[in-house]
């Protein structure tokens, strides 16, 4: 089979891209569309660093056939905030030193966003459960949980 064209809404913008049939969404985002925030950490579904939102639900873009994105809405970290207009989660991760090497941060933030979009008042335990598929080797997670809790508090106060 020759390459196929998929069309999807990417960070709010309709995007058409020619792909090889078995390419993953991660490969297409990073290597065809050059949105590099989505990271390649393992390709096995084990680390969560490639987490993106498809129709507002978190998925692992390394395990998703890009062909299945056709007609869907895909959101990457680039789509939720860029300097100077960062998403509150990005600001909180920065303020709390929740990114050390930074490689897990995009996936962590996307997983956290998916949680907060559904449940704006999670407990710390619920936050941790939402991050169960996202590994961090640097921070020991405490700063990450603190950062997300900060955003929860801000939303409660607002």
């Amino acid at each position: 089979m020759e390459s196929i064209t998929v069309t999807f809404k990417l960070n709010g913008k309709t995007t058409a891209v020619a792909i090889e049939p078995l390419e993953s969404l991660r490969t297409v985002l990073r290597e065809h569309l050059h949105l590099h925030a989505t990271k390649a950490g393992c390709g096995q579904g084990g680390c969560g660093s490639c987490t993106v939102l498809v129709n507002d639900e978190p998925v692992l873009s390394c395990l998703m056939l890009a062909a299945l994105a056709d007609g869907q809405e895909v959101t990457t970290l680039e789509g939720i905030g860029t300097p100077p207009h960062m998403h509150p989660l990005q600001t909180a991760f920065f303020d709390r030193f929740a990114a050390q090497c930074g490689y897990c941060s995009p996936g962590m933030i996307m997983a956290a966003k998916a949680l907060l979009d559904k449940n704006p008042h999670p407990t710390r335990a619920e936050i941790a459960e939402a991050l169960a598929g996202n590994l961090c080797r640097c921070t020991g997670y405490v700063a990450i949980l603190d950062a997300i809790e900060d955003v929860v508090t801000q939303m409660q106060e607002a």
Binding site: H36, G41, T82, M86, Q90, F94, A99, G102, Y103, C138
Partner: protein, 450 residues
């Protein structure tokens, strides 16, 4: 304790790279792309030890989209001895294996292709003719007379100044152990572990019009990598332009110079930019690990808790090749007695070769293992002689002005102060005589706590 207040030093200013990280705009090596960039995949040994009789890459070469195959013949100086820069020898690890394989996953030849998927599929087509030999995996077996010798110099250990181990000798252990009230022994071991940074190894090399190579690397040590790469490529270092400094987690795993030389050769051979990104499976099974270590402690202890003699025999599993292990064992040797004042010390530390993926540097290597053994042994001593866990450490803790077994005078000890602070942190009330102790109470020279 009072330290002089400074200006910006001591302030928790935000990370310079923080906004880049949280917005995904920091550029890591895998985020580097060039037009016309090729991808590299490695063909590796499927067995732990064997003799290579043939490598047939013809099907891979003919596979549509494959641009080049890199074998040992393409490597100008096919020795990967990263500590050659500080005199570690002899050469023992080929960059690409061609005569024998020494561990499962050892690199044999590289496939360079238009896409990563093509390179992977073509790599699977390379036929290897390898005669399997029984592997040596257990360190005690490796240093026994019954083991096959897997190293060309005639035994299975690194040779330190003519010895098959590093020695530390201080005082008179044999005499002191006879005088001890208690002889307390312990065995301690650690299995190899993986650095597991979330970013795997990655290298991108672009040949420049002027003949230089731009090398994007996630190495922890750019010049070290540049110099080792230049030695393997047999080019002056100025031919290489190393760009890095942003790493998605290292933990010691990215001090090996493991991706850059081959990626450079692939770029030189094809005249095109090349990227080599390791899979997680390669990261786990092929990249260096922290070494497996086995230690045996024999301590002579008096009824009052003083440790008067300590003997340690330690085996460190280098895996198939040197990498950083000969150095790690020296650091290990120096730290095996622990931060305690023990007048009679005997240490034998071995760097042992086995047919497993090489071990190398990892966060604290040599010291982590020693510290684990020492602190469990301290607890074992306390429990055996019926002394309090805090007291055993406080009475033996090294003091400023005392001599460590490596014959360096202690000058910045604060072990006692951290023990006291930890007790306070958890609300544990130390007896007054222990609270009164200080790292400066030996009375000798050194110390700057005033």
């Amino acid at each position: 304790m009072g330290v002089k207040q400074l200006g910006i030093v001591g302030q928790s200013v935000k990370r310079r790279d923080g906004i880049g990280h949280v917005t995904g705009q920091t550029q890591y090596v895998d985020d580097v792309f060039y037009t016309g960039m090729l991808w590299l995949k490695m063909v590796r040994s499927p067995i732990s030890r064997g003799i290579i009789h043939g490598i047939d890459a013809s099907k891979a070469e003919a596979f549509p989209g494959v641009v080049a195959v890199v074998t040992a013949k393409d490597v100008p100086n096919n020795w990967y001895t990263i500590l050659c820069l500080i005199g570690v020898e002899p050469n023992d690890e080929p960059v690409l294996a061609h005569e024998e394989v020494m561990y499962m996953g050892e690199p044999i030849c590289a496939i360079v292709a238009e896409t990563e998927a093509i390179a992977a599929e073509a790599a699977a087509l390379v036929k290897l003719d390898i005669e399997e030999l029984p592997p040596v995996l257990d360190m005690e077996f490796a240093i026994s007379p019954d083991a096959p010798v897997i190293k060309k110099w005639g035994n299975n250990t690194f040779m330190y100044d003519g010895y098959n181990h590093r020695k530390l000798r201080f005082g008179d252990f044999e005499k002191a152990i006879q005088q001890a009230d208690h002889v307390i022994e312990g065995d301690y071991s650690l299995s190899p572990i993986e650095h597991a940074p979330i970013e795997t190894h990655c290298c991108v090399v672009k040949p420049e019009p002027d003949g230089r190579l731009t090398v994007h690397s996630n190495t922890q040590a750019l010049y070290f990598t540049m110099d080792n790469t230049a030695i393997i490529l047999q080019v002056p270092s100025q031919r290489l332009h190393m760009i890095g400094g942003t790493v998605g987690g290292g933990f010691g795993g990215k001090v090996d110079v493991i991706t850059e030389p081959i990626t450079c050769i692939a770029a030189m051979k094809t005249g095109r930019p090349v990227k080599w990104r390791w899979t997680r499976e390669e990261e786990m099974r092929k990249s260096s690990t922290r070494a497996g270590v086995k230690m045996h402690y024999t301590d002579g202890v008096m009824n009052d808790g003083r440790i008067i003699a300590r003997k340690v025999r330690s085996l460190e599993d280098a895996g198939a090749y040197h990498r950083h292990s000969p150095y790690g064992v020296q650091k290990h040797m120096a730290n095996l007695p622990g931060p305690y004042t023990i007048p009679n010390v005997w240490v034998d530390a071995y760097c042992v070769y086995t047919n497993r993926q090489p071990s190398s540097a990892m966060r604290g290597f040599g010291v982590t293992e020693a510290t684990f053994a020492v602190e469990c042994q301290m607890e074992r001593i306390a429990r055996t002689i019926g002394m309090d866990s805090w007291e055993i450490r406080l009475i033996n803790a090294y003091r400023n002005g005392q001599m460590r077994p490596v014959r360096k005078v202690v000058e910045d000890a604060t072990l006692i102060e951290t023990i006291q602070a930890a007790a306070e942190l958890i609300g544990y009330e130390l007896p007054a005589h222990l609270k009164a102790m200080s790292s400066d109470d030996y009375g000798g020279k050194g110390g700057h706590h005033g």
